[in-house]
């Protein structure tokens, strides 16, 4: 294993460096002791006293360490004193040399590096539950890590910036987060991060550099064909390369994700609020819908965001006017394209007075806020979407009354989080947003149910696998050939008449995905369920599926006896059952 190699490297360095000082100490001690033993001491009762080796060693021990207990076992002769002076100076200097070597050794950057690598891979090996490797701990990485920590999902973090790693070590995450400062695109570091371990679920490449991300993704796929690869990419050519890697590859593009959400919320009024509420966005509420209006829009800044949003708006047949300092690309036709910086003049040219919405989507936060203020001056009732590029500008953006704030790092982090903890959510959303009759009503129904059950509490989006390890009691019943219905599991194990505060979204059984399953659904082994509920409901649900007694109560309404004695008494009293009534 990589770890043992590193450990042997560390011990090798330490041993090699300490060889000199140790031999020096040994020599100085033995010569000093021999001297003390051979030098005649004072005369006691006519006999010259010699020091024994034991006493000489004792004397050297406290002399070399400058403790100085005095002359023992008897007073020294002058010859011994003379030798003691030499011993003291030489041995103290030798000790200083030895200690100096140790200190220098631990300041050696290579040793420090080898030690931290070793600690890192030991930390990785101690993780026994599924984990992910996060490469890059910037804004996206830290938001993602906070989410993973909330959901109890351990992560290994590799970042090349030492300060970010130090900042990470001060965070109070609830899960193990072994971190390492180094280049994640070096194969050795990925292997030390546990890439080949069986519980490594995914590698998440979210460094600042697209090229590094691509390299990490390719390496991860090469070194472990089964691992999931999630990466953030905003460049088309890289996306094409990534798509050919094979296996499970997710490319997260925050602008495309946002454009999709925007498109969905134009058709389904509740969707934007629902989505934001699920991701626990501050200030999001199921009570307040945000729907972008239909009419003329002004798109300021035709970068990646402007492009994606403009495309979505165009799909709905919405007229847009684009303002951007750069000329439009030749291969696409935009009706009103104003070349220039967004100022009050270009805004008027774009017809801001008659527009219904504005997108302020340049890559400069100060400029984006300026555009908003400018536009408001012309038109008070504008629907506003603004792009917030840097997390540190949060306060300024919250102070403006904007309808939608699009923070690419946040959007990407949440998308990745959901890919990891709630992979079935995609199925659920796809179903809700399908252009079929009745779907909007279903979504309204879900939102209504969530409003009642979760309300103002923090929503917990939970994925549970009905496997032997994670739902012991349910599988036990299935083994016995008994049925377990979904409708039973979602009752409160403390009193089964009350349903738990949760809404089941999807059940995946084999290849089949059932959206909003009915209560009569029979649970199969290896099913996967996605639900949203309160934290308490999550805990109670977990308790039910893992305790045969709770499950028995929920199914039969009576308690199952636990001890042998009770079982025996019940059998005596009530011949036909093993059941007590409460």
């Amino acid at each position: 294993m990589a770890a043992s190699v590193d450990l042997s490297r560390v011990t090798f360095i330490v041993m090699r460096e300490m060889r000199g000082p140790l031999i020096a100490l040994l020599t100085v001690y033995s010569v000093s002791i021999l001297g003390m033993v051979f030098i005649p001491g004072i005369e006691v009762e006519g006999e010259i006293q010699y020091m024994s080796i034991f006493h000489a060693f004792y004397f050297m021990t406290y002399t070399a360490t400058t403790t100085g207990f005095g002359e023992i076992p008897v007073e020294f002769s002058n010859a011994q004193r003379f030798w003691a002076i030499i011993c003291l100076y030489v041995s103290v200097i030798t000790w200083l040399f030895a200690i100096g070597t140790i200190i220098r050794l631990f300041q050696n950057p290579f040793l420090v590096r080898a030690l931290s690598e070793w600690q890192f891979s030991r930390g990785v090996q101690r993780i026994d539950s599924p984990f992910v490797i996060v490469c890059g701990f910037g804004d996206t990485g830290s938001v993602l890590m906070r989410g993973l920590s909330d959901y109890g999902f351990p992560a290994v973090i590799i970042d090349s910036n030492e300060e970010r790693i130090k900042a990470l070590q001060l965070r109070n995450y609830k899960v193990a987060t072994p971190s390492f400062c180094g280049d994640a695109s070096v194969p050795k570091h990925l292997l030390e991060g546990g890439l080949r371990r069986s519980n490594c679920k995914a590698v998440i490449a979210i460094t600042n550099s697209e090229e590094v991300n691509l390299k990490i993704s390719a390496l991860a796929r090469l070194l472990n064909p089964d691992v999931g690869v999630i990466t953030m990419s905003k460049v088309e050519i890289f996306e094409e390369t990534l798509a050919t890697l094979g296996g499970e590859v997710h490319i997260v593009d925050p602008f495309k994700t946002f454009a999709k959400v925007l498109a969905a919320s134009m058709r389904n009024p509740g969707f934007y609020s629902f989505n934001n509420w699920l991701v626990r966005d501050k200030g999001a509420s199921l009570e307040r819908y945000i729907t972008p209006p239909i009419g003329t829009w002004v798109v300021c800044g035709y970068g990646r965001m402007g492009y994606e949003v403009n495309r979505v708006l165009g799909k709905y047949g919405i007229n847009t006017a684009v303002i951007d300092p750069h000329d439009s690309k030749e291969d696409e036709y935009i009706e009103r394209y104003i070349v220039g910086r967004t100022t009050s003049k270009t805004l008027s040219q774009a017809g801001i007075e008659n527009a219904v919405g504005i997108l302020s989507g340049t890559d400069d936060d100060g400029h984006n806020l300026g555009i908003l203020l400018n536009a408001r001056y012309f038109n008070q009732d504008l629907f506003t979407i603004v792009r917030q590029n840097r997390h540190e500008n949060e306060i300024a953006f919250k102070a403006t009354t904007v309808d939608m704030i699009m923070q690419p790092t946040l959007v990407a982090a949440r998308k990745i989080l959901f890919l990891l903890i709630a992979p079935l959510l995609k199925t659920f959303f796809r179903y809700l947003l399908e252009d079929k009759p009745g779907r909007q009503e279903i979504m309204e129904g879900v939102i209504h149910a969530l409003r009642q059950k979760v309300g103002n509490e923090e929503p917990h989006l939970v994925t549970i696998d009905f496997t032997r390890a994670k739902s012991k009691a349910v599988i036990q019943l299935l083994d016995e050939g008994k049925k377990v219905l979904l409708g039973e599991l979602i009752r409160d194990p403390r009193g089964r008449d009350v349903p738990l505060d949760l809404v089941v979204f999807v059940i995946k059984s084999g290849e089949q995905e059932i959206v909003i399953p009915s209560n009569s659904y029979e649970i199969q082994e290896n099913d996967q369920i996605l639900f949203c509920g309160t934290g308490l409901a999550h805990r109670l649900f977990n308790a039910t599926i893992n305790s045969e007694y709770k499950l028995f109560y929920i199914q039969h309404g009576v308690y199952k006896p636990r001890s042998h004695l009770t079982k025996w008494i019940i059998n005596k009293m009530n011949k036909d059952g093993e059941v007590t009534h409460h």
């Binding site: 042997s8 041993m15 060889r19 040994l26 080796i53 034991f54 006493h55």
Partner: protein, 127 residues
Amino acid sequence: MNLEKVIFGFFVVLALTLNFGFFLGEMDNPAHHNVLELFAVIVVNLIATVLKFGDRSQIGAVLLATSLVADLELIAAATYWTFAVHITGTGLTPEIMSSIVSLTGGALLANVISAIILVSETLFNRL
């Protein structure tokens, strides 16, 4: 000629011979076993051990192991000696002396193994 090999071989053989010298003589007779010789054996053995630090080869690991065994037994013998003479004050009775000498006999065996490994490694390199 490799100076490191010379020093290394010197200490391994010196440890072995000194050890043998101490071991030689009637087992339970303190007059046949000098305390200074024991001291020298221990010091030379410790130096030989430290010289083996940091050798990453398989042979180096085995040499370090045998050397550590010798150290352990010799230090045990010296500690026993110290206890008998200075702490419990029983002095070097024949029983105590023979157990001290048998401990160094064990160390001698470990040192013999060290020397055999050293010689065989050298021979292998010659072939």
